[in-house]
């Protein structure tokens, strides 16, 4: 039983971590090699990992999605440790609009224009930082969503995740605050109520014992007296 509970707790933390990993912004140093638009016929599996039609347009079962193809500087540990290796990465470029996750992105077309402007060749590279959220999964055709593009001087640029730093500080403060609220609630409301209930129960029990003993005495009076 304890192992089951422990497993559930780890599963819970794992899901929270995966959600944060999906939703929080990450920065990749890339060289953009091209942009394109592909029609996507979503399946029930990968529909969840796409956002929505352009915010002014209608949502249909099938639509065109903008993509940004890049050569990305590989990293270890979510970008914290740079590596001297490159790999292909493809980003989708969709309006996230007013829906989850809360990036409020409405400028997909503009972003596609910026990306097209930064397209460069291997011989004469122009490096850029792409901010994105989401996962890349080749088996389910899932792509991270690009949020912003910024040109940088070279491939050795090291992006500092300021937003995530402040987000986790805020999250820690919020959790401590919730803990303080819960403690105050328990101390001032829950415990007194429980004490009162316990007290009432004690009195009921005592009264029942009393009645029992009175009845018992009456009953005993009808019993045969032990012979002397």
């Amino acid at each position: 039983m304890r192992n089951v509970l422990r497993g559930l707790r780890w599963a819970f933390f794992g899901v929270i971590a995966l959600i944060l990993l999906y939703v929080l912004p990450q920065h990749d140093v890339v060289r953009i090699s091209g942009t394109e638009v592909i029609r996507q016929d979503f399946s029930s599996i990968n529909r969840l990992f796409y956002a929505q039609a352009d915010s002014g347009a209608n949502e249909l079962a099938t639509r065109d999605v903008r993509f940004i193809q890049t050569v990305k500087r590989k990293t270890f540990l979510l970008g914290f440790i740079p590596r001297d290796a490159e790999g292909v990465m493809v980003y989708r470029n969709e309006d996230s609009g007013w829906i989850w996750p809360p990036y409020f992105k409405f400028d997909s077309s503009d972003l596609q224009g910026e990306a097209a402007e930064l397209v460069s060749t291997k011989a004469n590279p122009q490096w850029a930082v792409i901010t994105h959220y989401g996962f890349r999964n080749r088996f389910f055709s899932i792509y991270p969503n690009a949020i912003g593009i910024k040109p940088v001087d070279g491939p050795d640029y090291y992006p500092i995740p300021w937003f995530n730093i402040f987000f986790f500080i805020f999250l820690g403060i919020a959790l401590l605050f919730v803990r303080a609220m819960w403690r105050q609630f328990r101390e001032r409301s829950l415990d007194p109520a429980l004490d009162a209930a316990e007290d009432r129960w004690d009195r009921v029990e005592a009264a029942a014992n009393e009645r029992k003993s009175r009845f018992g005495r009456w009953w005993d009076s009808w019993k045969k007296k032990p012979r002397r």
Binding site: I99, Y103, F104, D107, D110, I147, A180, F185, R188
Partner: protein, 91 residues
Amino acid sequence: MGLVRLVVVGGIILTVIYFSISIYSRSIRRERLEDRWAEDHPDGGDAADRTAYIEAGMAKYESGLRKKLILLVYVIPVVAVVTILWITNAN
């Protein structure tokens, strides 16, 4: 349509947070008043006087600035949304 949903759902969540923080803040204030009374009256003091002292302190809190600051629960997320909207979409 998405904006309407965001405003409605966000409004409900923020209202829950607002009331939770109000209850917490009021509870903290009352506890502090009780502690202060206990400090000044080690023998417990007069029960009616104690009630009057605490109620007066609570009335002061109800009309004070601290209580109004809890309304920031509604202001800060709106500012955050506008800021993110601007940063994401500005070129």
